[in-house]
Symmetry: C2
Subunit: 366 residues, 2 copies
């Protein structure tokens, strides 16, 4: 089965991979129970913690799985039926956290902002002083491209003595945060977002308080047991055979970012996001978020006769361009244009040329 | 961190990857929520079921994770505290099944052959007529290279009305079996064994009876929920972002094997295994298994002064050759030489040259 791989890809993962990192994918995958691979994994841990600005005593682990593996592992390893979570359910990924809590029988309440809107102080007030164990949030609700106000959330957690679990899957490297300043206990991301490596690995940083919870709770899972992950990572290893090739690519990218600086990485992403957002104003779309992350721009066609999903299909099949479709109720209403991965302003010019052509053809209209 | 990748690799995974399949690793990873990727995944399912000789109505799913993810998912999705398992614990991987059953509170008893030995009828007799739900076995106990007598086990299951769960992680493509003939309900393998693709994906085939159990049981897990996997795979998709790049390499390999024939693939592995086993007789090792799989040959140095783990280190650091070390109690006693992946008899000649040199240097001795 041949599959086309030369699209310009504006999806929010997998994303375009630089030539340097792609080339590593063609190397043989080495055996991994060696001191050499351990050293690489310890370096991965060190740089990841630096980039997250993790507090003293934090640890990082690398799970072979998608970002959802980390969402699952964080909730199940840290919390039990004795706890109570407050989860922001602002879109598909907030909903996923709620489903995870339900499967494991962990009591939780939901903060529900309007779709496409951030949360404000008044959303949180009803939950103050209610003895929740932890606050759980996707920093950027990737499904609708809404970046939540992490300072507001951090203050709420500190005032109410709550732990803070933050999915930074799509906010890592794109939007500013400090795990230390936010007082966050768990943060995790995935290989295929702004890190721009193939999908298959998710990585998590745990504060000392989060680690204590992992050790204190009974192991509820085998494959995603964080006790086993923490213990093995002490010597730069994983309990089971990991996606070794992807971890090597992660190492190259982490070193690249450490060398050039996190600010430079963020600036590069911000530059293409700003370029796109300036030019898209001339087209018949409304930005479907009142609080944008630099990761992605969600767009809704102004004309109700124009289907967002149809635009995705035509761009893919006739122009070799991938934008990120939405699912469920938003399928016809919203698509998203990502700003992560090896993208240049010239790539966006190709997208605008295609949109111009769609206007001429009457497929896109005001 | 630079890591050496040009060893000759006789490990049992990750293994040597052919140039054709490696080259695919350098391609951009395409966006996957498309009809094109769905078609590729449905093709993966079709060929995998053919190669396993799965019974009518079987389904396959692809999990982003190591082989242990499938071990975990099979046990937890099919069985509950109401069931009772009989698990063969002949080495590290049989032990892992027992640990999984313990974590999920699933009652089980253990069939324990001597280390390095297969199971015989007398091992099973005490467990006949005892109302077990299922028999759980690693067809090849990879840690010690012991291939179990699957016909014996299959007969026992049929006579006792038991389901049969078989880890064929290292037996797939190396040793003959038919899921249909054995009456097996679940079989799974990993991408980095004889399939010779980078690690990161495990794949499972479920009989109709196994699927019924998945649907009847409450979902006990989120990330490894087989209901979600089965439902999504109906349209060639996965519930979460999968290791897309590895799934494309799996597709290329499955097509290669379908085209050239499973018999040819097995013959190629058997040829290098036989070549190695003929020549190794001239060296001071004892084969540490009374029932060999074609996947791997476990070796124990005859001279108790020779440490198996030291040989692994010297071969790696001074000869650029990886053999597969053992852990735990067997670390100094056993190492393994694999026969899967893109290996030729010339690669084994290099290994024998190194062993000759180690003999001359007195590091290996009779």
């Amino acid at each position: 089965m041949e599959i086309k791989k030369d699209h310009i890809n504006f999806a929010v993962g997998p994303v375009m991979i630089s030539e340097e990192i792609s080339a590593l994918g063609a190397d043989l995958v080495p055996y991994f129970r060696t001191p050499e691979f351990s050293a690489l994994m310890l370096e991965n841990e060190r740089i990841l913690k630096e980039l997250m600005d993790a507090p003293e005593g934090s640890r990082a682990v690398f799970l072979t799985g998608s970002g959802t593996a980390s969402m699952d592992a964080a909730i199940r390893n840290l919390f039990t039926a004795e706890d109570r979570l407050l989860i922001v359910k602002g879109g598909g990924f907030g909903h996923r956290f709620c489903e995870i809590a339900e499967v494991y029988g962990i009591p939780h309440d939901e903060v529900i902002p309007e779709t496409g809107h951030t949360i404000r102080a008044e959303h949180l007030e009803p939950f103050a002083g209610k003895k929740y164990t932890a606050f759980v949030v996707n920093m950027d609700e990737t499904s609708t491209g809404v970046l939540y106000d992490m300072d507001l959330i951090s203050r709420f957690c500190k005032e109410n003595g709550m732990m803070l679990v933050v999915d930074v899957i799509s906010a890592f490297l794109t939007d500013e945060f400090s795990m230390k300043d936010l007082g966050a206990d768990v943060m995790f991301t995935g290989s295929q977002k702004a890190l721009a490596v193939p999908p298959g690995v998710s990585m998590m940083v745990l504060s000392p308080r989060a680690q204590e919870r992992v050790w204190a709770n009974p192991s509820a899972c085998f494959y995603l047991d964080l006790k086993a992950a923490l213990k093995n990572q002490e010597r730069g290893q994983t309990p089971w055979t990991p996606a070794v090739g992807i971890l090597i690519q992660i190492n190259a990218r982490l070193n690249q970012i450490a060398r050039d600086g996190l600010a430079a990485e963020r600036a590069r992403i911000r530059e293409v996001a700003d370029y796109f957002r300036r030019r898209i104003k001339d087209y018949p779309f409304t930005v479907f978020s009142d609080s944008l992350s630099y990761c992605v721009t969600p767009l809704s066609p102004n004309n109700p006769e124009v289907s967002a999903h149809h635009l995705f299909e035509v761009l893919k099949d006739e122009y070799g361009i991938i934008v990120c479709p939405n699912g469920g109720e938003l399928a016809d209403k919203v698509f998203r244009v990502g700003h992560i991965g090896a993208l240049t302003t010239a790539d966006y010019d190709r997208l605008f040329d295609a949109l111009d052509d769609l206007m001429r053809r009457g497929i896109l209209k005001a």
